[in-house]
């Protein structure tokens, strides 16, 4: 039984923002972090990670800076910008509202109708 969950459209950006909000990360680190914080449940398709990072940077939600990696290699580190922080807060709230509503809807039993 596959334990990874299907990534919903639009949620990748939110997850990336969340990942880099904890600590500056390079692209590979973002992938690892998402896997880690989702309890290995979410595996990002590697091909779509970088276009998403470039898009977020283009929209000024994250900022990139070259730095030194753990194994002393040059790597591009992404951090959350102020705009990104605001966006993450809004999206988290929106997502929670949606998730609560959907959970409530799905948990409805016939007696409650």
């Amino acid at each position: 039984m596959d334990k990874t969950a299907e990534l919903l459209p639009g949620t990748l950006d939110m997850l990336i923002l969340k990942a880099v909000s904890l600590k500056p990360l390079h692209g590979y680190g973002v992938m690892q972090r998402i896997r880690q914080i989702s309890g290995d449940a979410i595996e990002i398709p590697q091909g779509s990670l970088y276009p998403a990072l470039y898009r977020l940077e283009h929209h000024d939600l994250i900022a990139a800076e070259w730095g030194q990696s753990e194994n002393n290699r040059r790597a591009k580190y992404y951090t959350l910008t102020a705009t990104g922080r605001r966006r993450l807060r809004d999206e988290t709230a929106g997502w929670n509202r949606l998730a609560t509503a959907i959970a409530a809807a799905l948990n409805t039993t016939s007696e409650q109708v």
């Binding site: 390079h26 692209g27 590979y28 590697q46 091909g47 779509s48 970088y50 276009p51 998403a52 470039y54 898009r55 940077e57 283009h58 929209h59 000024d60 070259w66 990696s69 194994n71 290699r73 040059r74 790597a75 591009k76």
Partner: protein, 888 residues
């Protein structure tokens, strides 16, 4: 949005950094992943391969990343650009023709537009310049269309016309300025105190003139122009209070104007108060403006020109109520006209400039049509290539954008070349006299003009792309692909389009040709007009005698000793002096009253050219004597009140009697009997202001002693080439007074030639335009016919194999071009008629439709089109049936 643009801009400007960074980042990712796989127990080689495979195609990820940054559009654009550039390089003949056509057409338009822009469009450099008006008096029934304003007008009007915030007067002049021995004659303006406030631009340093400084006792002040201040005072910031000598009288500098101050076309360097005596401001002098003093006014915000005009009319009517001359003034049709200052200043040149712009635009149209035709031909030779690419998935948007990129690249490069041609064209216009146009000094080639030209080039590129894109899109893929190497089926619509383009091109070129012909004929007719005297072998020059140094008596002595000395110069046949020589560019008329002449109803005292002459002026100028005698040196002494009138004058007042012995006063009213002048001779009438002067206004010549002014012209008839006498003349004048130069030394023939510059230069330009138009039309016709021949090679080969003679083939193409020529000419004649109608304002004695010009234009058009069709039809006749059919 702004941030995104900035991010895009940053990436575009550092594109290499972006690409390298992206490659490095992705490589890092894959290697990290491989390391992780190795740690989990995979062999390094296997891990590397696995990591790469799992990541997917590097190129497609990179492509997605670029797309997220909005870079793909630029990449595509760059690809299309380099594709277009490659295509253009592959067809150098086409590209060179197209670029040259564009460069010439855009350059010609840019040149004329530069003039239109600086003369007609760019506002005057004052605050709210469209509120500035000029007001002048007109007496149309007395033959005086324009007479400036009088001092009286100014003092009576200011403060009384509520539609104006302020009102001012000015007069142009020249004064001798500087310390003794270092004097220069400088352009000056005398202005009323409110002149600068009316314009809304006053001195940058110091103050303007005050009301107290408007009398000749108190006017010892001056305001300097910026250039004068810089050149003479080294831009001294403490110049206020220093002295400047004007006509040897010291004046205090009270202000310096800003560098932006340019009043109309004036080059005035020193501004003085317009001082006057109280008696010059009385109602009696209301109508003695004499076109010397001009009036300007600023409209009140919210007030209209019509309001101002009706207030001026009402004010005039009120003043005329108790004017003893009221009837005469009314009979003369007197009115004071309010007109916008800028428009009035350029009114004379406006129709010519608009006409030239229309001509240049017609040229551009011809060029554009040519290009479209050439591009269409090119497009049809690429039908198959395009069809294949569309079949392979090129989208319609791609097909369109490819065409737009190609045509815009062409027009932009052509536009850049056109900038160079425009810069050269502006220089050419200077040679042709554009500097002397009103506001012509502003004509310049600047960045604003260049950007207008490049924007126009881009727009033209897009417009040119429309028919080509339409042609490309309407091709049916299947047809194009199936028709094999026969070059595609001849598209009927495309052919009609090409032919109608040629027809319109011929029509436009015909119009240009006919227009240039009309201008040329008009110039020729103007040149054929006799000036009324013998203009050959006469040298003339102006001498200005400052009032401060020369009393009336001293002037008389100066003129007499000048005449004495001139008589001894070698080569001088006769010499004379006059206040104002014909064609001097200065004009002024004054009234005269003929003894015994009762004014007819509706007639008023007329303005006539009035001159004072000394020496042997009439012989020097070669006037013909019709009756009586010339004025001689003896008449110059004040003893006798005699005068000579010209034919036109004599005919007007004494149509049935001899003029000799008649008497007149040199004023608008009858004077005392002793003051009347007796006519002693009649001379031939002469053109005064220009050869095309229509109204013979009549002239009166008095002995110089009765009309002493501060300016005289010397006229010398010589047996030598007139210009060779110039130095000798200057030397003679310097012998009398070493401070006095001779200005404006020109032979009479040169003056007449110069007076025609406003007709000659447009005619030359129109001729140049139509020459280019002919060449373009020839290229267009040749291109289209060549294409038709190449396109129908197989058909021609087949017909010849079946027995058609080369002559038949040749005449087939010959008839085609004749048909195109006939269509173009018919449209062209209609266009030429409309052009002629529009040109009436600038034509002299030439009707809108002149048969000789039409026939001439048709002939030239015919010769050019037939030459253009000779080569292609000859080539058609030379086609070998064997080769044409064997090709495949």
């Amino acid at each position: 949005m702004f941030k995104r643009l900035r991010s895009l801009f940053r990436v575009l400007t550092r594109r290499r950094d972006f690409e390298e960074g992206m490659t490095e980042e992705l490589r890092f990712h894959i290697e990290q992943y491989a390391d992780e796989l190795v740690r989990s127990g995979m062999s390094p080689e296997k891990a590397a391969r696995h990591a790469r495979l799992e990541f997917g195609s590097l190129d497609s990820v990179k492509g997605d990343c670029r797309e997220e940054r909005g870079l793909h559009l630029f990449d595509e654009f760059r690809r299309e650009l380099s594709y277009a550039a490659r295509l253009l390089r592959k067809t150098p003949g086409f590209t060179a023709t197209a670029l040259l056509t564009l460069a010439v057409c855009l350059g010609a338009n840019l040149t004329i537009f530069a003039v239109i822009d600086s003369v007609l469009l760019r506002p005057l450099p004052f605050r709210e310049p469209d509120r500035l008006m000029t007001i002048f008096n007109t007496y149309p029934k007395a033959g005086v269309e324009r007479d400036g304003s009088s001092l009286t007008n100014y003092y009576e009007r200011r403060g009384h016309i509520s539609a104006f915030t302020s009102l001012a007067i000015y007069r142009y002049g020249t004064e001798i300025i500087g310390e003794a021995g270092l004097t220069d004659r400088e352009q000056t303006m005398r202005v009323s105190p409110d002149f600068f406030s009316t314009l809304g631009l006053g001195p940058a340093i110091g103050r303007t003139f005050t009301e107290e400084e408007t009398t000749s006792e108190t006017d010892h002040v001056a305001i300097l122009s910026d250039t004068f201040w810089r050149q003479r005072y080294n831009a001294d910031p403490n110049v206020i209070g220093r002295l400047v000598r004007v006509n040897s009288v010291p004046r205090t500098v009270i202000g310096v104007l800003p560098p932006t101050f340019h009043f109309l076309s004036s080059d005035a360097r020193v501004f003085l108060p317009l001082a006057s005596r109280a008696e010059e401001r009385t109602p009696l002098r209301r109508h003695s403006g004499g076109n010397v003093i001009q009036m300007i006014a600023r409209l009140q915000p919210g007030a209209t020109l019509a309001q101002a005009q009706s207030q001026i009319d009402a004010h005039n009517a009120m003043l005329e109520a108790d004017d003893p001359q009221a009837k005469m003034i009314a009979d003369a049709g007197f009115r004071s006209m309010v007109v916008p200052l800028h428009a009035d200043h350029v009114a004379a040149i406006r129709p010519t400039l608009l006409l030239l712009q229309a001509g240049a635009f017609a040229l551009l149209l011809i060029g554009a049509v040519n290009l479209v035709n050439l591009l269409l031909i090119r497009a049809s030779s690429r039908v198959k290539e395009l069809a294949v690419r569309q079949a392979l998935g090129a989208s319609r948007a791609y097909v369109v954008s490819e065409v737009v990129v190609e045509t815009t690249l062409l027009t932009l490069v052509g536009g850049l070349l056109g900038l160079a041609i425009g810069a050269g064209g502006i220089r050419l216009l200077r040679v042709l006299g554009a500097d002397h146009l009103p506001l012509g000094g502003r004509i310049a080639f600047d960045a604003q003009l260049a950007s207008v030209a490049l924007v126009a080039a881009i727009i033209m590129g897009i417009v040119l792309a429309v028919p080509i894109a339409w042609f490309n899109l309407r091709q049916h893929l299947g047809n194009a692909l199936q028709s094999e190497s026969r070059g595609g089926t001849s598209s009927r619509a495309a052919q009609i389009l090409r032919h109608s383009f040629i027809v319109s091109q011929i029509a436009l070129a015909f119009m240009l040709l006919a227009g240039a012909g009309l201008l040329g004929l008009s110039l020729q007719r103007a040149m054929a007009v006799s000036p009324g005297f013998q203009s050959d072998h006469v040298l003339t020059g102006q001498i200005l005698l400052p009032w401060a140094d020369y009393s009336e008596a001293a002037r008389l002595t100066f003129v007499e000793s000048l005449m004495d000395k001139m008589a001894y110069l070698p080569g001088v046949l006769s010499a004379g002096v006059v206040n104002n020589v014909p064609f001097s560019g200065i004009s002024g008329k004054s009234a005269a009253t003929v003894v015994g002449h009762a004014l007819r109803p509706g007639e008023s005292a007329r303005g006539h050219y009035s001159y004072g002459v000394a020496g042997d002026y009439f012989r020097a100028m070669g006037f013909s004597l019709r009756a009586g005698r010339f004025l001689t040196a003896d008449d110059s002494r004040r003893s006798q009140r005699v005068c000579v009138v010209d034919d036109d004058f004599a005919r007007y007042y004494w149509p049935h009697a001899s003029a000799v012995g008649q008497r007149l006063w040199d004023s608008s009213e009858a004077g005392r009997d002793a003051e009347a002048f007796t006519v002693v001779g009649v001379v031939g009438g002469a053109k005064q202001a220009g050869l095309t002067e229509e109204q013979a206004q009549g002239a009166i010549y008095y002995p110089y002693a009765f009309r002493i002014g501060d300016s005289v012209f010397v006229a010398v008839r010589t047996s030598l080439p007139p210009e060779s006498l110039g130095l000798a003349l200057q030397k003679v004048v310097r012998q009398i007074d070493s401070d006095i130069p001779v200005n404006d030394l020109r032979s009479m023939e040169t003056r007449i030639t110069d007076s025609l510059v406003a007709r000659r230069s447009p005619a030359l330009l129109a001729g140049l335009f139509s020459g280019i138009a002919l060449l373009l039309t020839a290229i267009g016709t040749y291109g289209v016919l060549s294409y038709a021949v190449a396109h129908r090679r197989r058909e021609i080969g087949l017909r010849m194999a079946l027995g058609a003679q080369p002559g038949q083939i040749r005449s087939q193409f010959f008839y085609l071009s004749l048909r195109l020529l006939a269509g173009g000419t018919i449209l062209g004649v209609i266009g030429a008629w409309l052009t002629g109608q529009a040109m009436q304002a600038v034509l002299f004695h030439v009707p809108a439709l002149n048969l000789a010009i039409l026939v001439g234009a048709a002939f030239v058009m015919g010769v050019v089109s037939l030459i253009a069709c000779l080569l292609p039809s000859h080539r058609a006749a030379q086609i070998s049936p064997m080769e044409a059919l064997a090709e495949e």
